[in-house]
Symmetry: C2
Subunit: 222 residues, 2 copies
């Protein structure tokens, strides 16, 4: 087989496994979000800040994806999430098969929302469906304001883009309107939220967004 | 063939092409550096600041790798570099074959130093030899101080690590000694420089490092 045949076979097999995961999540009434970004854009800090605002009213499950270490799982467990850490070894993205493999370790029936924190990478995870309801991308203001057009695939594929670390804007040369404009050009359907997971600025709108998506999904299921 | 067979074949073919690139670069007396980091860690800004300090005394060639756009090539050309932009489409790293393909467009004999700016990705480029003399990784202080152990492969493979954006340290919770310590554990031979490509702080030591490496290479060749 050529490299392209192998890639097509991998993608087809991934889509098949993702459909199975989606059915398992939906049968349990869960809202599932797949978080994608570069290393260090603040995915885990966003989860910590989100857990602080959700765990009093709902059960949150986190699936942590990393090349190496259990560090992120330790952090979210300390904030009240249950879940599991996946280490990919050298793999540059999570796959639907990796999610399928850990489903048995999770108490899906007891959960409300599942956050899947993908491996830190703005390219490889873009096209791998994991069975989620929402694919979302984080950008940090410290990464420079030229990123959407340089990494277009993930913006094409995302339902939501979060522009994080807005607390650092006074110390940076960063045109946030330019970034939002580029995302709108790439994908007019992609919603955009601006926040600082560290200071909490903008977090209320994000929490409302998650609650509304959960209500919407449960409305469709009832 | 299995996925693993294909991967092995791709790596072997890459190594063969990299050896050819290395011969072409060395025959022309060039020092070649392969810059790897996450998106937005400051590779292009480092190149701009470096070009401002080198182009009065030497000819610098830049090979720019990006998924999409010519933006980075426009930036370094404006600072006096010659070179070429490679767009990978969706590809998550440069390969030796991609470098081989553009060698004919470069005036190698007229050059002194070649900087290859890899695709923004802390995982995939780690193990692809391009024929360079120096493999180097950039980390930005805004990415959080837990990254080396989470992305160990690139630190195992690098000769130099640059900790960039030290001008933002007063506004961050970031333990730079912890980061340096983790790199030392992963690879005691990896040198570490701390700088701000934006403010110029620490740039002199980096420029001295490049000049010394060029002198060393030319000494070996003479």
């Amino acid at each position: 087989m050529t490299k392209i045949d192998v890639q097509k076979k991998i993608q087809d097999e991934n889509d098949r496994m993702a459909a199975g995961n989606r059915k398992a999540f939906t049968d349990a009434g869960l809202l599932v979000l797949n978080l994608i970004s570069s290393p260090g854009s603040g995915k885990t800090t966003l989860l910590e800040s989100t857990l602080d605002r959700l765990t009093d009213t709902m059960n949150v499950i986190v699936i942590e994806g990393d090349v190496s270490t259990q560090r992120d799982m330790d952090r979210v467990r300390a904030r009240g999430a249950s879940g599991v850490q996946i280490n990919t070894g050298g793999g540059c993205h999570l796959s639907a098969a990796m999610i399928d493999e850990v489903l048995g370790e999770l108490d899906l029936e007891a959960g409300d929302v599942v956050f899947i924190e993908n491996v830190g990478n703005l390219i490889c995870p873009s096209t791998y469906d994991l069975g989620e309801d929402v694919r979302m991308v984080l950008l940090s203001t410290t990464e420079g304001d030229d990123k959407p057009m340089k990494y277009p695939a993930i913006f094409h594929e995302s339902d939501l883009a979060i522009l994080n670390k807005i607390d650092l804007l006074p110390h940076l040369t960063y045109d946030i309107e330019k970034v939002a404009g580029e995302i709108e050009v790439l994908n007019p359907k992609c919603e955009i939220l601006r926040l600082s997971a560290l200071t909490g600025d903008g977090m209320d709108a994000w929490i409302d967004w998650v609650r509304a998506k959960l209500a919407e999904k449960r409305g469709e299921l009832s």
